[in-house]
């Protein structure tokens, strides 16, 4: 009888399986993260980058699973600076809820996931923010057909948003300050927020303005919706790293600054090779032909060259991912260089 055989095998199976599970857990968890994140990244031969679960323009996978976006470009730039290869990134999609735990526990080396820099997050969660790669603010989107032109007309509206974000609290503050009532419908995942708003469950969709532009693309008829002029909060979005590893924080910080600096000095992905021969001392220091700035942060001296070569400067990344020629059509605005009236400013490399 076959069942007899099943049970004979079942016992061998049981004991072996248990051992196997135990050991494979051991094996997969063996790669322990130590204090020096850079060493871990180098020995792993890949950067683990925490990104969103899909936000067009910032971090979004296409149907072949390739990630792109402004936040993704920062991951790529860091990988390029370390490995001279922008593809050595493992993307870990994280929900709003998981992102900080994932960083704290060492599941990711870098959290580049449109995360707002706030004091409590910077000081109480064991994280460090240091640069802002996108200056944002919370806004509202409504249907054009409703004939609303200001957020102050929204009293009594149903508002769709994400749970676990600063947006939920900002809305509460804004409506309270203006003595308006509202109905909050807060979903766990961004896709569900969009779906509910699109279905007409809510009158208003609120999140960071960049997010609004990105999510608007997912609506059935993007042109029938408009973004209200009010910006009700400051949302500086930037990468976060674990506390206690200054070298690693410096790398992230200066990779971003290098991209901004490159834009300012006119170094682009296209002309970086010619620029290497430039006499401009600024460019020379940026591209590593002069000085020992790379070794100071534990990298090779041509780290800046690698970043620009593989990813491009900040302006290029912006234009490629969210700029006016992309479906998102976001103007530079606050994210223009300081020399053009924006807020993006890189300390000098010297």
């Amino acid at each position: 009888m076959p069942l007899e055989k099943i049970r004979k095998g079942a016992w061998a199976m049981k004991s072996i399986l248990k051992g196997l599970v135990g050991v494979s857990v051991l094996a997969l968890s063996a790669g322990a993260a130590s204090a020096a994140t850079l060493d871990d990244v180098k020995s792993r031969d890949a950067l683990k980058c925490g990104v969103s679960q899909g936000l067009p323009g910032f971090s979004n996978p296409d149907s072949d699973g390739n990630w792109s976006g402004l936040d993704v470009d920062l991951c790529k730039a860091v990988a390029a600076a370390i490995f001279d290869d922008a593809s050595k990134v493992e993307y870990v999609p994280l929900s709003a809820k998981e992102r900080f735990t994932a960083l704290q526990s060492g599941e990711v080396d870098l959290l580049s996931r449109n995360t707002t820099w706030t004091m409590s997050r910077d000081t109480q969660l064991g994280l460090n923010f240091s640069v802002v790669n996108y200056y944002d603010g919370q806004g509202f989107m409504v249907r054009s057909s409703m004939g609303i032109s200001s957020a102050l007309q929204l009293s009594g509206a149903a508002i769709c948003t994400n749970t676990g974000t600063t947006t939920e609290l900002n809305v509460a503050d804004y409506f309270r300050a203006n003595n308006m009532d509202y109905e909050l419908v807060a979903f766990e995942k961004a896709d569900e927020v969009v779906a509910a708003y699109d279905a007409g469950r809510c009158d208003v969709y609120t999140t960071d303005q960049s997010g609004i532009y990105a999510q608007r693309l997912k609506l059935t008829n993007p042109d029938e919706h408009k973004v209200l002029p009010e910006v009700i909060s400051k949302e500086p979005l930037g990468p976060a790293v674990r506390q206690g590893d200054d070298q690693w924080q410096n790398i992230i910080k200066w990779v971003h600054f290098a991209m901004v600096e490159a834009e300012e000095s006119g170094v682009t992905q296209g002309n970086v090779d010619e620029m290497k021969g430039s006499d401009n001392p600024n460019i020379k220091r940026l591209l590593g032909t002069e000085g020992e700035f790379g070794t100071a942060i534990g990298l090779d001296n041509d780290w800046g060259y690698r970043v620009i070569k593989h990813v491009g400067n900040y302006g290029e990344a912006f234009a490629r991912n969210v700029g006016p020629d992309t479906p998102l059509k976001i103007a530079r605005g606050q994210n223009a260089l300081w020399s053009n009236g924006g807020l993006q400013y890189a300390p000098p490399i010297r």
Binding site: L125, L169, L184, A199
Partner: protein, 396 residues
């Protein structure tokens, strides 16, 4: 020592071959391992929390929550309410959807379960298809379908479906008329209580009389009469103290009235239809489990189909049905936590979701949430065990 008690003549036995000693060694080893694991885990946790500079403790429960919750039966104000209040709001929302869901699923399950046994081929066919389809599709998918696909077919917020005295219906929910209680409402409530007491008394008396004389008193219709009639009389005597507030058209769709949220409706429908399919199978098995001789004997005694089902089959089937039914009720309660997928503000969504995100105190919040569910589960099983014991056949 167990070995020495065996007496002088007993052969020397190795320590490990004494079952009692062996049992204790195994248990002590187990205890040591478990205590050690717990200790290490907690040690790690505190070390990690400290390293990450995360606050711990339950102090956050008294802090101001600062976010809004759509559906709340308790007074909840985003400006002043605390995280502790958020917990109770979530808990009550979980309870509401579970209780209503259990009631609907039970009714649905019984109807479909009996329908599946029907002689009528079309009826039993539909019941079978219903059961097999809904049982084999994940609940989460059903919730999505109800919420995102079916509710989407309702009219928009600004052109709601007017259902007359039932209020208005649109994609953001059902705006039911809200009862406004006047001065004499206590009289009506009092009448209702009297009616309920009277029904119990009459039912008791009728049973006694039937046992003694064999005469049947129409308890059901009397009860219905009492239940509706008494409060109605009181209502008119008190000068009709009940009025309804109807929703009015506001800027963004209707305002006012008693609001039933679409998240609630979607979750409720999905839970009820899903669990109803399982209950239907249980009911069918229960009825089939009653010996056919019971039906035949009942028919031989001159009972028709209706009374046979009601007086002979169902009471016996219930004994088979109740234990699995209990676990379905438990499942429904636990499954209500899927509310988090469609923004119904239940315990998981609002406390283990939003509050967790705002405070970052994962350990405290998840422990509280899990223990609450555990307590709910134990309560439900305790109640159903009591009920089961009551229903069980008393062997004479």
């Amino acid at each position: 020592m167990a070995v020495t008690t065996a007496g002088e003549s007993a052969p020397r036995v190795a320590l490990l071959n004494d079952p009692k000693i062996r049992a204790w060694i195994v248990q002590i080893l187990l205890l040591v391992v478990l205590v050690w694991l717990t200790y290490v885990g907690i040690q790690n946790m505190f070390a990690n929390l400290q390293a990450a500079n995360i606050a711990s403790g339950f102090g956050f429960l008294n802090r101001n929550a600062g976010f809004a919750i759509s559906q709340s039966l308790l007074d909840y104000d985003q400006a002043t309410s605390t995280f502790g209040r958020v917990f109770f709001v979530g808990l009550i929302n979980t309870l509401i959807v579970s209780i209503v869901g259990v009631v609907i699923a039970t009714i649905l399950g019984f109807v479909v379960g009996i329908a599946r046994l029907s002689q009528n081929w079309v009826v039993s066919g539909i019941a079978t298809v219903y059961i097999e389809t809904l049982r084999n599709i994940p609940l989460l998918l059903q919730i999505f379908v109800w919420y995102f696909a079916v509710l989407r077919l309702l009219p928009g917020r600004r052109d709601s479906l007017d259902m007359g005295f039932l209020g208005q219906l649109n994609i953001s929910g059902w705006y039911a008329p809200k009862p406004i209680y006047g001065d004499g409402i206590n009289l009506v409530l009092g009448a209702l209580v009297i009616a309920i007491v009277a029904i119990f008394v009459i039912a008791r008396w009728a049973r006694k009389r039937q046992e003694q004389t064999g005469e049947i008193f129409p308890v059901f219709w009397t009860s219905v009469g009492l239940f509706i009639g008494l409060p109605l009389i009181a209502y008119f005597i008190a000068g009709m103290p009940l009025s309804f507030e109807y929703p009015e058209q506001g800027n963004f769709g209707p305002r006012g009235g008693a609001r039933i949220y679409p998240e609630f409706i979607g979750l409720l429908l999905a839970l009820s239809f899903y669990t109803g399919a399982f209950i239907a199978e249980i009911v069918r098995a229960g009825i089939l489990g009653v010996n056919k001789g019971q039906t035949e004997a009942s028919h031989a005694l001159g009972l028709r189909n209706g009374p046979t089902l009601r007086l002979v089959i169902v009471p016996q089937a219930l004994r088979i049905i109740i234990p699995p039914l209990t676990s379905q009720y438990l499942n429904l309660t636990k499954n209500s936590s899927l509310a988090v997928a469609i923004a119904y503000p239940d315990l998981v969504s609002v406390f283990a979701g939003t509050a967790l995100n705002q405070t970052g105190q994962a350990v405290e919040i998840l422990m509280m949430t899990m223990l609450t569910y555990l307590a709910l589960s134990l309560l439900i099983s305790a109640f159903m065990n009591w009920y089961n014991a009551k229903m069980a056949l008393v062997e004479r």
